[in-house]
């Protein structure tokens, strides 16, 4: 009985201790919410540096994983408790919704301010800025302008293992450029018993990236956009051809077993441990591979080109971007900090410490050669956030899931094309009715 009494007493004490809230935050500090766990340490260092240099206090708060971060930002938006600087994780339409609801400041003016004839926005790769930009006449009805500051840049393309190439008797300095070359190399690798292409295709956006790369290369960007607009059907022979590429790769067993439901982290392990000759992955992989296998000999390459008529395209642009809270009382200070953060010196520091491509063009000097080879292809990049028109999410999902069905031999390309078109028509009808 005594034990119970003591326990209740302890519980009550703890309970009231629990009621005490935390120490009050420093009201003058600029608060930044971010989700990049690997960079938290570096951010803290940079915050201290900034304070030493300018006396202004900056506080970085980490919320991970990114799903939890996105939830928190959405919830805070509803209660006007957003911090001074944060990120919008989601698609362009989410970005637009935040802006229209008044949660994000229009930074066009600050970005356009010139110093010695160079505007802040000119420091960045053009595509990195475009991802954060809304053009006049955009489909979301957002006032034109630039609303975010790119922190880094990523591209999504392919990598290949030079040592495995040698082992199969292929020239390690000559990755395949065309589709025929690629399938040729793949069959040589197959005879040498080396697994070929791995990727996290369980995360269907990766399938979408590869498919849209091939599609834009084959039929040209405009036709793809026209399909999104509804002017071209998915049953068009060009789309069926895009899907056939996947069937061809399935028939020739180009994909590593299980790639269709693999999470990207498993795919990265597979490539890092030299169990696949190719990987379809993003430029962040440099950091991942370095940690798992510093002796890995590999290089970046573009996905094989399927046509000479149109330029090859890969997804690329801003990796992470920060926005400024329109309702913030420390807006000017926040913008000033972002300017400093994306300055050449800080960008080089970030790139060096975290092996990410900087968004500031001038900071490319200090990065590793393999990472730099990703940056070489920046001109070929595009990204859904830059598209002038967007496809219905359910159509995208049907298309991507359809590709998965092709990969497991369940459906034929024509079937998937028809199914996708059916869903497209349904969604278009719904949209017209509203």
């Amino acid at each position: 009985m005594h034990f119970v009494k003591n326990f209740i007493l302890t519980f009550l004490i703890l309970f009231f201790a629990g009621c005490a809230s935390a120490n009050k935050q420093d009201p003058s500090a600029i608060t930044i919410w971010h989700w990049m766990s690997d960079r938290d340490e570096v951010f803290q260092e940079l915050a201290k540096k900034y304070e030493d240099q300018t006396g202004a206090k900056v506080k970085f708060d980490l919320f991970a994983p990114s799903e939890a971060y996105a939830q928190r930002v959405k919830a805070s938006a509803q209660t006007a408790t957003l911090p001074d600087i944060y990120g919008v994780l989601g698609e362009k339409r989410d970005f637009a919704s935040f802006i229209r609801s008044g949660y994000i400041a229009n930074l066009s003016q600050a970005l356009g301010e010139t110093k010695d004839g160079v505007a802040w926005k000119d420091d960045f790769f053009k595509k990195a800025v475009s991802v954060n930009e809304f053009l006049p006449g955009n489909e979301f009805g957002v006032e034109p302008g630039i609303y975010g500051v790119p922190l880094d840049v990523t591209t999504i393309q392919m990598v290949y293992n030079k040592k495995l190439y040698e082992k199969a008797g292929l020239d390690p300095e000559a990755p395949p450029r065309t589709w025929e070359e690629f399938m040729g190399h793949a069959s040589i690798l197959r005879e040498a018993g080396i697994p070929r292409l791995v990727s996290g295709f369980g995360e269907i956006w990766m399938l979408d990236a590869l498919a849209s790369n091939l599609a834009m290369n084959l039929m040209g960007e405009e036709k793809v956009f026209d399909t999104y607009r509804g002017k071209v059907s998915y049953a068009d022979p060009d789309w069926v051809r895009v899907l056939s590429f996947f069937k061809q790769m399935t028939d020739e067993k180009v994909f590593v077993e299980g790639a269709v439901t693999m999470v990207n982290k498993t795919a990265e392990q597979t490539f890092a441990n030299e169990r696949a000759a190719y990987a379809f992955n993003g430029s962040w992989c440099v950091n991942v591979y370095k940690g798992m296998n510093p002796d890995l000999q590999y290089a970046a390459m573009l996905p094989p080109s399927v046509s000479n008529l149109h330029p090859a395209r890969i997804w690329g642009g801003a990796g992470g971007s920060f926005v400024v809270n329109a309702g913030s009382t420390r807006r000017d200070g926040a913008v000033k900090f972002l300017k400093w953060l994306t300055d050449e010196k800080q960008q080089a520091f970030l790139a060096e410490k975290t092996e990410n491509l900087p968004s500031n063009k001038a900071s490319l000097g200090k990065i590793s050669p393999v990472l730099a080879s990703f940056a070489d292809d920046m001109d070929n990049t595009t990204h859904p956030n830059i598209y002038p028109v967007h496809e219905f999410p359910s159509v995208v999902e049907a298309f991507d899931k359809g590709i998965q069905s092709i990969l497991i031999g369940e459906k034929k390309p024509e079937e998937v094309a028809q199914d996708t078109q059916k869903i497209k028509e349904k969604e278009s009808a719904k949209a017209r009715a509203n």
């Binding site: 799903e67 996105a70 959405k74 938006a77 989601g90 698609e91 339409r93 989410d94 919704s97 935040f98 229209r100 609801s101 008044g102 949660y103 697994p195 369980g202 995360e203 269907i204 590593v256 077993e257 299980g258 790639a259 269709v260 439901t261 999470v263 498993t266 169990r275 999410p393 359910s394 999902e397 899931k401 359809g402 998965q404 069905s405 990969l407 497991i408 369940e410 349904k426």
Partner: protein, 295 residues
Amino acid sequence: MSFNQVRKVVGSYVFVAPAFLLFVTFSLYPFLKVFQLSVTNWDGISSSMQYIGLENFKDLWLDNPVFWASMKNAFTVTFLALTAQNFLALFLALLCDRDIRGGNVYRVIFYLPPVLSGIVVGLIWNWIYDGNYGLLNHFLRFIGLGDLARAWLSDAKTALIGVSVIHMWKGFGWGFVILLAGLQSIPRELYEAARVDGANTWVMFKNVTVPLMIPVFILVSILTILGTMQIFDIIISTTGGGPGYHTEVPITRIVSTMIGSSKFGYACAMGVTFGLILLAISMVQIRVSKMMRQV
């Protein structure tokens, strides 16, 4: 009414007051909010939203085959859990109920899968099921059944079962703990008396254990159904819902609608529908349990 009578009536309510207060604040209010959102076209972000009546529900019930396919998948996993998982849990609980050597150790070990973080579970099982270097395929080749080897989570025929096995492996510990507690609450004298009457193990099980354990069985089966229908983390860390739609379940559909399509209101309608279905199933079970108690 005398003061004592009033005190008596109020007293009973005092017992449930704290629970009820918390419930109204943290369960009822959010639920009503979600219900309210389910009749709008909100995207989760805008400061404005439009009331659209039962549009979301109409589309969901009449025009969303993917959602109902995912519901079927969840039912499949739940059926497997109700049978295989709970029989295993019951069997192990029965074994550990007796004074078996090392019983305490076993109890801790069987509780390990639920304790483990989802990250470890995902990593281990991805490795076990891997098509090239997976442990399961290694084992099959080792015992000469190499023909059966495949990429278990990518094969349309085995993906859902594979995911179910992970869920059952992770879940039997819960049932085990509850069933064991139930078994240990049965007075030992009843078993003694039965043994004196000449009953063997099976008869004792049938006449003593089962009748007294019926409420616990019902409890475990309700919990199993509720827990398994809401399966999510395991799927996200292994197959992501694929290949195709073969391992999609209601919660993965709700989350991808909420985040992937930014259709928050629609996702809320999905949540309400799903919840009502679960509620109906549980009500049926409670009804059945009441009937069985009277037998």
